[in-house]
Symmetry: C2
Subunit: 210 residues, 2 copies
DNA sequence: TATAAAAATGACTACAAGTCATTAACTGAA
DNA sequence: TTCAGTTAATGACTTGTAGTCATTTTTATA
């Protein structure tokens, strides 16, 4: 059945086109300031059509987020070194994430703007993507487990718990820098230094000195 | 002019009454699900009146947040021990904050739900309240500075920077617990343990062993 | 008691999310 | 080719809500 395959491909393509259009507008004007009508116009479709591909505005937003997470995931995996220790990988992962956020500030903003309290407005499977094997969080858990095995990471806290803590630590400072920069500036703090220092603090609480 | 004073007092009172009403509804239904009309009804005023006291819905939300921060500030100050070292005070402050969040989960939710990207919709002076001398953040900076003076806290990172990092670390895990509990549960993690472990991790990266 | 100032009102406007009856495009069989 | 059935797309419409403002009510003052 070649036709059904083609249709499926076209459907995915269209979905991607809509996400592209939404992303363009979002990066330009900020998500808050972009309406579904505008997205429809930008993607050269009627508004109703958007709702054939996305359950809600939130769902569309999350699709952008999700694509960013996939990008991030690829970068993090690329930098993963299977011969290095868990601790080394942990440090690399943090650095990669920070580099990514410097390179794609708009994309990071998109992630940080997503309000997770609206999970119920998503297509049913969407919200569980963070728990899929390929997600950044899962990679982090894997690295921590590895570090606990090779003795370079503390063992007294379960891997999943440690991962969640490190992830949210880094994310919180990224959020500070990408959404609350005025506050950071008001305290006369350099945002890059802030990111690096925070990273050093939480990493030093987790890896074991050899 | 006793009359003007009385009027000012009544104005503040009314403002507080509106915040009370909004808070009741918010705690009951979640902020997203409460309209200005409902708040008007609950506070037995017309909708237009609300806008005499608050510039916008966001401004009203922030006023709730602000009152919570004042509560928190009082608690933290009460637990401040001027005879203890900076490090000890730092640990106490963290514990107090965590205890507060356990005691008043709704209030913490209100803080965490506030979207700081909407600062421009606030009454002009509102957004700067975090930088006022009495705020929790400023108390934290003070404690860190003290610790740096008495040698119980690392000196290589400026006080303001360290404070912001610690604050956002703790806040991020609180957010996880108060807004993203399903994720925490999906990873089979106990939320109280998560809070305590995260606290231990970031604090150990900051205080100096004697 | 009259007048001015301040406070409160709620009908109204503007705008955006989401729906759905209708129309258009495509497909596969006759 | 044609046509019926299916799938995709449309956009006018509904619904809900934030915020406004001309009007009314209340309060202070002379």
């Amino acid at each position: 059945m070649g036709i059904n395959e083609r249709k499926e491909r076209e459907k995915q393509q269209r979905k991607n086109d809509i996400i592209d259009a939404a992303e363009r507008l979002f990066f330009k004007h900020g998500f808050e300031n972009v309406s579904m009508d505008q997205i429809a116009r930008e993607s050269e479709l009627a508004k109703g059509t958007l709702y054939l591909y996305f359950k809600s505005r939130e769902d569309l937003h999350y699709s952008i987020v999700n694509r960013v997470l996939e990008m991030l995931s690829k970068v993090l995996k690329r930098d993963y070194d299977k011969h290095a220790s868990g601790a080394e990988n942990l440090i690399n992962l943090g650095k990669s994430y920070i580099a990514f956020s410097t390179q794609y500030p708009d994309h990071i903003r998109a992630i940080m703007m997503f309000d997770s309290s609206k999970f119920e407005k998503l297509e049913t499977n969407q919200s569980l993507k963070i728990l899929e094997p390929d997600s950044p969080l899962m990679l982090l858990i894997h690295i921590i487990r590895k570090g606990q095995m090779d003795g370079s990471v503390r063992k007294d806290i379960p891997d999943r718990e440690l991962a969640l803590i490190l992830w949210s630590h880094l994310a919180s400072v990224l959020e500070l820098v990408s959404l609350r920069l005025p506050l950071v500036k008001a305290l006369e703090i350099d945002e890059n230094e802030l990111l690096n220092k925070q990273f050093e603090i939480s990493i030093s609480g987790v890896i074991l000195k050899q």
